[in-house]
Amino acid sequence: MSYVEVDHLNFSYPDGTPALEDVSVSLDTGEMIALIGQNGSGKTTLSKCLNGLLHPTSGSVRVDGRDSRKTAIADMVKRVGYVFQNPDHQLFNATCRDEIAYGPRNIGIEEDEVAVRVEEARAVVGLPESELDEHPFFLTKGLRQRVAIAAILALRPRVIIVDEPTTGQDARQSVEIMEFLTGLNRDHGHTIVIVTHDMDIVARFADRLLVMADKRLVADGPPSEIFGNPEVMSRASIAPPQITRLALELSDLGLPSDILSLEEMIEAFSKL
């Protein structure tokens, strides 16, 4: 059985508006996943169902064998963490230290253990020790995002969902954040789910794509396969990276359809 099992999940908001229809998916530990789709396609609602903030209207979400409806939220957030798109919507403590300690304290962890976890999370995200007693709002957005991730890491969840980690970041910072998340995945075995609109980031860093469109999960597979499938792309109103579109346009020259980066394009073109 997978770590996260979503089975025929339907979710409607209290006013009856449906947000998810018949979503079934399983996530294993150690996966690097991108969740993509238009605004309003259900990405955030699905994320919130995965960490127990929302409960299925019908169907089920099981994490580590536990039914989300029968499990206390404190037990869920230990397993699936969610990092907000805007770290400022999540940070509210006066120091980075308190911010990171807040989650573990809230689920009743002893102070000694809290201190251990704060140090562990700080080290993993690479927040300088000297910044621990700073107010988060004096840090750059990149560092604030790291504090937000550290606050989630301190709960030691197996799965970490990060909503739009690269918004507002320049190219270099985006790569830095993504390399950091890749490290969490590779070196610490976390399953990482990034929610994003940036297809270049998806192409470069994700091993598996979940594509949402109009409340449903419409595709699930490796980026090269999904970007090469025009039907899925148009249903989800998503365009593959520009370089992938160029390779598809030139497929009659003998270029493969699974090109995801400029480097791959140059390599394939050189062999023509």
Binding site: N39, D170, I243, L246, L272
Partner: protein, 291 residues
């Protein structure tokens, strides 16, 4: 000769509590009706320049200014209160930062009422802005109930209804999905066809601004490092890349074709141009082998 819309001369700005200068020795002239793309890594000075043009600097920030920033020939500090803001419209990446009203319609009308416009004029401009940004169906809705893409179109329409002669867009689509982003850029290109408006567009993803920009300006460490018409801007890709700015995929590919002598000519800007260059280079090498 008409004045440039924006003229920045030997301009240096240092925020009061920061160590270095945010921008230094900037010289930049933008003609009326021109659209420029302003690119560079975070911290390179893009937003400082945007805020200097609309008078937020030095108006709302403390610091030390040297040099001149002129809008339509007049130094920004010499404008009467409120007059510069009527001339220069500003759109941010987070539209919620500018919302104040309870319905989309009120949001759109708010700025015009503040300008003291007559009812007839307000009605006319409301109609025009709603047409341009495709907002008629949303007028009765509260701004917090609409999607991110719709919010950004409302923010844009609210600014356009003030009929600014200069529009500054600071990462206007950072939070939007590809379809919503395309709609916002569609509004901007229709706007450019419809009237003479000067635009300064700040974006990290160059693929989005290339179709709109007449000219691109690269900033690094507070200085202008490169300033050229959009196609020529991409002549030397290394110069852009060392600043942490990534050229669009097809421009990168075109650069490689040219660098490896597979194609001689100017940079491609669009997918169809790059595809054409690729085909020509393959055809040329096949012809060479057969000879």
């Amino acid at each position: 000769m008409t004045d440039p819309a924006i003229e920045i001369i030997d301009y240096t700005w240092k925020y009061l509590h920061s160590d270095g200068e945010a921008v230094r020795g900037i010289n930049l002239s933008i003609a009326q009706g021109e659209c420029i793309g302003l690119v560079g890594s975070n911290g390179s000075g893009k937003t400082t320049i945007a805020n200097s043009i609309d008078g937020l600097i030095p108006g709302q920030y403390h610091g030390v200014k040297k040099g001149e920033v002129k809008v339509f020939g007049t130094e920004v500090e010499d404008y009467k209160r409120g007059e510069l803001q009527r001339t220069v419209g500003l759109v941010f990446s987070d539209p919620e930062a500018q919302f104040t009203a309870m319905t989309v319609e009120d949001e759109l009308v708010f700025g015009m009422e503040n300008l003291g416009l007559g009812l007839e004029e307000i009605r006319e401009r409301l109609e025009w802005a709603c047409d341009l940004a495709d907002l008629h169906a949303l007028l009765e809705k509260p701004p917090y109930e609409i999607s991110g893409g719709q919010k950004q179109r409302v923010a844009l329409a609210a600014v356009l209804a003030m009929r600014p002669r200069i529009l500054i867009l600071d990462e206007p689509t950072a939070m939007l999905d590809p379809i919503s982003r395309a709609k916002v850029f569609d509004v901007l290109s229709r706007l450019r066809q419809e009237q003479e408006i000067t635009m300064v567009l700040i974006e990290h993803t160059l693929e989005h601004i290339v179709p709109l920009a007449d000219r691109m300006v690269l900033l690094g460490d507070g200085r202008v490092l490169h300033d050229a018409p959009t196609r020529a801007f991409f002549d030397d890709l290394e110069r852009i890349r060392v600043q942490g700015v990534v050229p669009p995929g097809v421009v990168g590919f075109s650069g490689w074709l040219r660098q490896t002598q597979r194609y001689a000519g100017e940079s491609a800007l669009f997918l169809d141009e790059a595809a054409d260059q690729a085909r020509r280079s393959v055809a040329a090498s096949t012809a060479g082998e057969n000879r």
